[in-house]
Every structure is written in structure tokens, then in C-alpha cells.
């Protein structure tokens, strides 16, 4: 964390981020449960810093990153990037919106069913109404009426209930269109550079896509910008006409980074950007990310399961376990003195290069498997595998607390 005389500005504030994926079972596909991929995550990211997000596979790191960028519709969250709310500043607003949608949907269904019945009755009663183009016209009218019903009912309900609850219109989540306007501030670098580049587009097309979406540049200006970006990430300008399959993994990841940089974002989510790369290339890409951060003053959320890489690049580290943040601390303190039992176990799993220390190292070997995120244990998420489990852990979920300056832990041992 950069510390100076002036307090660093919070660029990203995430409060109570929940991302549940519904489970539908049975013949009627009834909603019987949720996969709680992310379940109440809080963190801040300061301007210019890198927050590492680590945890084992399946703990919700990637989901968290994507939900922060609103690539998913989070179950509940307040996400502020650069002071602009991307989700629900007020949780009541979210509930009002959900209820308004539900009622509007039911109203629409009713209108549609009545309309179909009306059309059928008309067709039976009057022969003129049963003629082919007229029936089509009626159907089109009905669809328009249905859409109108939905939006009118939803907006009216939202307005009236929000006024009754004293919630301003600004507390509602931005619409897709508003989100689209905010996209240039936040970008993402993806895990698999092969999969994240459209195989049918040239490098120029891929890097230029954000430009054509959000700017009104002329062709030459756009090409100049594309070449600038290719220079910035160390790609030969002559590659502009090539296709992604013609590149190595490291080069592909550079293309992905150039695309993320195209609109001068402030905040970039790096979703395991090096996991799919050769070890020899990983260092190149990480160094490139660091250089770009310095050059453009970027802020990263660096998601990774590679602890040594996180130790290298991150300023602060958040450790996730089963959808929750277990510990959040500045890098050196976390690696030197982990407080949460899960962090201890995770760090002790890092292989030791020295054979002597490798043999003598006291490892914390966790027993059992990670519980299912659709059915997390009562109390602390980690209580089923924790070596220091206490009675209270099985009944009460520990709060995230700042136990020392800058060190947040969610554990009963430290409260």
C-alpha cells in the first residue's frame, strides 16, 4: 500500500458482494438452492496499488473479479469504482427492483394470455379477423402491448415504492446503457489468451474493438492508436494483420493486455493472466504489467493461485476461501506472519526449493475436502477443516475485523 503524507484515494470499494448462482431442480425447474460462489466479500483497492486475490481453485476468485466489473449481475453488492456506483448503493433499492420486476412480469403474462384469448375469440366471431395478415398484425400488437406493460408497470412500481421508502432514483443500479458508458474506466485481462481472442479477428481488429465501440476516431487515428498500444505491450507493429492463432501464448496475452489498455482505463482486473503461460513467459508478462502500472498509473485486482507471483506483484493480498475473504493484509505481513489458519495452511503448501528445509518444514496439511458452495457449513466456512477449530466456529460466522492496522482477518482466534 503506498503510504505518504496524503492518504491514498480509494479507487474501488466493494461492499457485501454476493454472487449466487441459482440451482433449479425437478420437473418444474423450481429454485431449490444457490451456489454461493461469492458470499459477502468486502474490500477496497487504493489508487495505483495492486490487490492480489488468492485462494484455491473454486473458491470464487474469478467470479468475484467478474462481478466487480459487472460482467455478472451480482445477487447483492455495492461496487464503487472511481466514485461511481456500479451495483446497488442501497440494498432496499435492489429488493424494490426485484419485486417490481416480478410483479411486472406476472402482469405481462396475464396481459399476453388475455390477449391470445381475445384474438382467438375475435377470429372465431368475425371471419375478417381470422385473415392471415390481420392475425399477424394482432400478434405484433400484442407483443408490443406486453413489452409496454412490463416496462410501464416496473417503472411505476419502482418509482412509487422508492418514494415510499425514501430511496432516491440514484440508488438503483445503472442500466446496461449506463454501464456501457462506464466500461472504459475498468477493463479485464483474461486467463486463457487463446480463448479470450476471437480467432476470426486480426490483432488490429481485436485491439481496435474498444476504440470503435467508445471513440469516434478516424481510420488513421485508430490505426495510430493501435500501433501505439502494440508498442506499449512490446508487439511488433507488423503483426497487426495477423490472427491470434499465429502467436505464442505470451504474445497472445500481450494482445489481450493491449486491448485492455486501449481506452486508458484506471482499473484492470487481471484474472489469472499468467496461469496459462509457460513459466519462462510468466515473468515477462508480469514485468510488463508492472511497467504499465508505473507508466499509466493503473490499479490492478490481480487474481491468481500462484503465491510467488502474487508476492512479487501485489501490494496487499486478500485470501479467499469458499466465497469469503479469510484474510486481507499488506503483502509482507501476510507472507511473514499469516494470522488466519487457512492462510497458514495455504502458505505452507508453497513448495520449498531447498531439499533440507523441504524435508524439515512443518506443513499444515488440511484434512478433508472443501465443502460445497451450495451448502456451506454453519458458522465459519473453514470450521470443517480448521486445525484450530473451536466450538464458537461451528455456530457463529466470524466478522471481518481489523486486528492490526491494515490487517483484516475473519477468524474467532483473533477477535
Amino acid at each position: 500500500m503506498p503510504d505518504g503524507s496524503t492518504a491514498p484515494r480509494k479507487l474501488v470499494e466493494v461492499r457485501n458482494l454476493r454472487m449466487y448462482f441459482p440451482i433449479h431442480t425437478g420437473l418444474l425447474r423450481t429454485h431449490t438452492g444457490d451456489v454461493k460462489a461469492v458470499d459477502g466479500v468486502n474490500f477496497d483497492i487504493y489508487e495505483g496499488e495492486t490487490l492480489g486475490l488468492v485462494g484455491e481453485s473454486g473458491c470464487g476468485k474469478s467470479t468475484c473479479g467478474r462481478a466487480v466489473l459487472r460482467l455478472y449481475d451480482p445477487t447483492s453488492a455495492s461496487i464503487k469504482i472511481d466514485g461511481v456506483e456500479l451495483a446497488w448503493a442501497n440494498d432496499d433499492a435492489r429488493k424494490i427492483d426485484a419485486a417490481a420486476r416480478r410483479i411486472a412480469r406476472n402482469a405481462t403474462y396475464t396481459v399476453m394470455i388475455l390477449g391470445v384469448v381475445l384474438i382467438a375469440v375475435l377470429a372465431v366471431q368475425f371471419e375478417a379477423m381470422a385473415r392471415f395478415p390481420i392475425v399477424l398484425l394482432q400478434a405484433a400488437l400484442l407483443i408490443a402491448l406486453g413489452l409496454l406493460t412490463f416496462f410501464l408497470t416496473r417503472n411505476m412500481l419502482r418509482k412509487s415504492r422508492a418514494r415510499a421508502a425514501g430511496i432516491s432514483e440514484a440508488d438503483f443500479a445503472p442500466t446496461e446503457n449506463d454501464l456501457r458508458r462506464m466500461r472504459p474506466t475498468m477493463q479485464m485481462v483474461f486467463q486463457d489468451p487463446q480463448a479470450s481472442l476471437n480467432p476470426r479477428m486480426t490483432v488490429a481488429g481485436i485491439i481496435g474493438e474498444p476504440l470503435s465501440e467508445h471513440t469516434q476516431l478516424s481510420t488513421t487515428e485508430r490505426n495510430d492508436r493501435i500501433y501505439e498500444l502494440m508498442d506499449a505491450v512490446g508487439l511488433n507493429r507488423d503483426f497487426a494483420n495477423r490472427y491470434p492463432h499465429e502467436f505464442s501464448g505470451g504474445q497472445r496475452q500481450r494482445i489481450g493486455i493491449a486491448r485492455a489498455l486501449a481506452l486508458n482505463p484506471k482499473f484492470i482486473v487481471c484474472d489469472e493472466p499468467i496461469a496459462a503461460l509457460d513459466v519462462s513467459i510468466q515473468a515477462q508478462v508480469v514485468n510488463l504489467l508492472e511497467d504499465l502500472q508505473e507508466k499509466f498509473g493503473l490499479t490492478y485486482l490481480f487474481i491468481s493461485h500462484d503465491l510467488s507471483m502474487v508476492r512479487h506483484i501485489a501490494d496487499r493480498v486478500a485470501v479467499m476461501y469458499l466465497g469469503k475473504v479469510a484474510e486481507l493484509a499488506p503483502r509482507d505481513e501476510l507472507f511473514n506472519d499469516p494470522l488466519h489458519p487457512y492462510t497458514k495452511a495455504l502458505l505452507s503448501a508453497v513448495p520449498e526449493p531447498d531439499p533440507v528445509t523441504h524435508d524439515t518444514a512443518e506443513r499444515v496439511i488440511l484434512q478433508g475436502d472443501v465443502p460445497s458452495p451450495s451448502n456451506p457449513p454453519q458458522g465459519c466456512n473453514f470450521c470443517t477443516r480448521c486445525p484450530a477449530v473451536m466450538d464458537i466456529c461451528r455456530s457463529e460466522d466470524p466478522e471481518m475485523k481489523e486486528v492490526r492496522p491494515g490487517r483484516f482477518v475473519a477468524c474467532h482466534l483473533h477477535s
Binding site: 466489473l69 454501464l179 498500444l229 512490446g234 507488423d238
Partner: protein, 366 residues
Amino acid sequence: MTDAPKQPLATSGATPAGAAPVMEMEAYRPPRNQWWDVWDQFKTHKGALFGLGFFIFALLFVYLGPLIWTLDSQYIDIRARNTNHIFSCLGVGGGWFSAQGWADWFRDMPACLGDPEAFSTANPIYGLRVSWAHPLGADQLGRDTLSRMMVGGQTSIAVGLTAMLLALFFGTLVGVLAGYFRKVDGLLMRLTDLFLAMPLLPLLLVIIMLFRDVLRSAFGPEGGIFVLIVVVIGLTSWMQTARVVRGDVLALKEREFVLAARSIGTPPWRLILRHVLPNVMSSIMVSATLGIANAIITESALSFLGLGFPSDFPTWGRLLFDATDWLTQNPERVIWPGLFISLTVLSVNYIGDGLRDALDPRIRGR
């Protein structure tokens, strides 16, 4: 746009992978139109070139041919009925296995080609009726097969292409919407199942019985039937395309580049046009090539059942079906339309194959 570097960064320990150490700044080509690459690759596919060649030949034959061979396809020359095609002259002679047979062939063949009418009457032993007035022969009413082939080809190719395009449009639209928007998936796919479950021929019969007279009065006897047949074939053959496209779109939608495009803020319809459609192009191509064949054949089946074009209006399928009764006497009447249908379908298949390869940058340049 303002704070981007003009020069490559001096990245610590990160040498640009694969970058040539010395680059002339003027050397790079500006982004080139992708269709040139597609054409370059298409040219390397021999089958596709032959296919394109034959298809162009077929188009010229059916559309420009009537300007050269001006005989009316409806003109009845009753004295020329059941004329054989002129290539029958190549089969005269006494057989392939004796010297006498070859000698007869060398004597009779030029005579036959030189003056077919006189040869036919002078040598009744061959049972031939050949004439340069009808190089591809004539049918049982004496209508010229060559001009009927040309006029029939116009209809068949037009029906095939238009019905294919219509089916492709509907199929792709339904498939993409169903695959991309989960909310309409169930509705659209049940609609597809509904169309698939309907027995096709009875449905066609009903539609044609219902709408034939309306359309005939609106577009004229042939125009009305053309519209009807194209629409009917198009509306009853889009389902396979829709299913295949939906499956592809479902798989594509989960790919990370679609997520990347969403993170950029690309709106759904542009995302579909830019990322989804180009990647399902290969399945669409396959559907298209199969669709043309299907449309031509369905049209001939309809004509055969008396529900297509009027019986005196030639199409390739109609010619084929009319000829089946005369198979032993005039086999060439089956051969010519059959050959043209097969070759057109084959050429379109090859064009589609070449295009599919050419449109895929991963195959291009190999």
C-alpha cells in the same frame, strides 16, 4: 489517447517476444481488407474453383443461353416428337468388339452428324431420330429440350438460391436468438420442434391449396407459384440450420472472447454480428450448400405432384420427372436435367467447402 507512449517501453527483463530487433518504421502494411485474404485462400482450393467455374457456366447457360438459342421452349413441333439428342450419332456402328463394327462407325458417324435427318430415314435399323434442329432432342410433344433446359434452369437455380437464402436467414435468426438470449430459447426451440414434427408434404399441399389462387392473382401464374414455392420451401427447411446454429452459439457464448467483448461494452447485437456470426459461419455454409440441393429437389417433387409450376412450365425437376416414362426410348431426357441438377449441387457444395476454409483464418495459408 494522450498519455500513450510513442515508442516501445524499455521493459525490464521483458524483451518483446518475437519482435524483430531492427524494424523499418515504414515497413508495416496498413490493416488490409480481410476479403483479399479470403480470396487468396479460396484460389488455392481447386475443387472450389472448378465449382465456381461450373456454377458461372450454368448461370450463363440458363440466363444468356436463350439469347443465342432462340427457339421457344413452349413451341410444339409435333413432327420432331421424341427426337434423340445429337450425341446418339456417336453410338452408331456395328459394335465395339469387331473390326467391321469400327469400320461401320467410321462410315456412319460422320454421315449421321453431317445430315442427321437423312441418315435417320436412310438407316431405320438404328431406330434413331436425330436432327440439328434439336441438338438435345425433343420431348413427346416435340418441344426442344435444349431451350427447355435453359428456361427450366432459370427457375430451378432461382428457386434453389432464393429458398436457400430464405431458409438460411430464418434458421440463422432463430438459432442465434435462441442460443444467445436464454429467455426466448425455450419458445423458439419449441417452435422449431413444431415445424420439424409437422409432416412436410401434407403441410405443403395445404399451404399451396390455400394460397395458390391468391398469389396467382397477385403475381401472375408463374410469379405467384414462384413466390409460393420459394416461401414454402424456405419456411419448411430452416429448422436444421436453426438447431445447428443454436448449438454453436451456445458453445461460443461461453468462450472468453465473448465475455471480453462484453467487458468492453459491446452491445448484444453488435456482439452477435462481430463475434458470434463469423464463428458459426462454417455451419451456416454447410447448411447453405445442402439447402440449395434440398430446394431444387423439393421443387421437383412438388412439380411432380402437380403442385408446383404448371405442367407445361419447364424446370429441371419437372423435365426429369416427365422423362421417366420415356426412359427406355429416350434415356437422354433423364440424363441432361439429372446431370445439371447434380453438377449444380456439387459445384455449390464445393464453393461452400472452399468458402468455409477460406473464411477460417486458422486454415488460411496452409
